[in-house]
């Protein structure tokens, strides 16, 4: 955990109650602690990558109450009462999320730095039916940078996951 300066230690502490990846957490945070720092340093969820710390790169994308947001641009205290999902919370009972499978199958990652953000944003696109076309997916991940420039495989992976999910839904429906 970050020690902080003496001034920071004197900062007001606020109680928050959040549910992170299904786990209820009640704790106290400084008013200006970023959500990205809270997740990485207080909860050790280091899958939340911090690339730019200025809302540009999207590597720190998480879901707050189902909405994808850049966690470097939200204060932890603002999440009181919210449900947060990070990359660590996407798999269920040890089974990879379809997007995680798809990124592996379609080589949707190279160095892997942007991957958690890409997958979380991809999950938001799938959940909100915003991955119907390739153009929609490209627009949908426009806030996520991949410095390996591996966009084509990322787009392919999201399309692959979308088709996997819809096939499953069709099978469930029958």
């Amino acid at each position: 955990m970050r020690k902080g300066t003496p001034e920071m230690n004197k900062a007001l502490k606020y109680s928050i109650k959040v549910r992170v990846n299904g786990r209820e957490i009640i704790t106290k945070v400084d008013s200006r602690l970023l959500l990205s720092s809270f997740l990485r340093e207080n909860l050790e969820l280091t899958g939340v990558h911090v690339g730019c710390d200025s809302s540009n790169c999207g590597a720190c994308t998480v879901l707050i109450d189902g909405d994808s947001v850049k966690s470097c641009t939200v204060f932890a205290v603002q999440c009181d009462g919210s449900e947060i999902t990070t990359i660590e919370g996407l798999s269920t009972n040890g089974n990879l999320h379809p997007l995680q499978t798809a990124f592996r199958e379609k080589h949707g990652l190279q160095c892997g730095f942007c991957t958690p953000g890409m997958i979380i944003q991809g999950s938001w696109l799938l959940a909100n039916k915003k991955a119907e076309t390739e153009d929609q997916i490209r627009e949908g991940i426009s806030g996520n940078l991949c410095r390996c420039t591996g966009y084509q495989n990322i787009v392919d992976a999201i399309m692959y996951a979308r088709d996997m999910v819809s096939e499953r839904e069709d099978a469930d429906g029958e």
Binding site: S68, V69, K70, V77, Q121, G143
Partner: protein
């Protein structure tokens, strides 16, 4: 720092008479997907759709952006083109701030200490109207290099009965191109008039040189293109409806 999240009245979109009222904490996402806004003042939905990227729009709000008053922000030009007004509230009561007096400088507004922006009011355009928001950006999701929002109405004779031109990123604040508007209002719109208005609008700007998005001269040229395109699009749309 005060968290306003729990005040639900700040998150409402309502229609009242000939006005749309948008709470200051309504997200860009909610605005771009609101059926009411798309139907009544589609310029507002179009502008919302142009902001940042999906994650930014999930989190960003119209009131937050207007109060932050970034000279390159997207809401400023829209607010000015629609001649909206901002409702400020404090323990002393409420007051309305006309869009022409809202921005007072870079990242500065007419909001006073102790006041919060409660909502923004927009008059719903009547008759044959058209709109356009043209934004030149260096890369996807960037702040504008130059941007122009246009709202236009035509009367039964096909003359321009309302014109609002708001410009972003070309001055120390979002500005209304008043002289350009004067070239258009009351007239039958032609290509020449549009070119004249674009020229005039460009002269009303005062952009600064910057290393990332270009020189002042470049931005003056770009804003001319934005105004021309936006006026042409808005006019064609209105003409199609008249």
């Amino acid at each position: 720092m005060i968290d306003l999240r729990q005040i639900s009245s700040l998150k409402k979109i309502t229609e009242k008479g000939s006005y749309l009222l948008i709470g200051s904490m309504v997200s860009d996402r909610k605005i771009e997907s609101s059926r009411l806004i798309k139907e009544k003042i589609p310029l507002i939905a179009a502008v919302a759709n142009n902001i940042g990227d999906p994650q930014v729009r999930n989190r960003g709000t119209i009131g937050g952006s207007l109060s932050h008053a970034d000279p390159s922000g997207d809401w400023g030009p829209c607010f000015l083109a629609l001649r909206g007004s901002a409702v400020a509230v404090s323990v002393k009561g409420k007051r309305e701030i006309n869009s022409d007096h809202f921005f007072t400088g870079p990242f500065s507004t007419a909001l006073k200490e102790g006041e919060i922006l409660e909502k923004v009011m927009f008059q719903i355009p009547s008759g044959a109207s058209g709109y356009s928001y043209i934004k030149i950006e260096r890369k996807a999701g960037d702040f504008a290099t130059a941007s122009a929002a246009v709202q236009l109405s035509l009367d039964k004779q096909g003359r321009c009965s309302y014109i609002g031109i708001g410009l972003g990123a070309v001055s120390d604040r979002s500005i209304r191109a008043v002289k350009a508007e004067k070239k258009v209002v009351g007239k039958q719109i032609t290509d020449d008039i549009i070119s004249e208005a674009a020229e005039s609008g460009s002269q009303e700007t005062d952009p600064y040189d910057d290393m990332i998005r270009g020189s002042a001269e470049f931005k003056r040229e770009m804003i001319k293109i934005c105004i021309k395109k936006a006026l042409t699009e808005a006019y064609k749309m209105a003409e199609g409806l008249s």
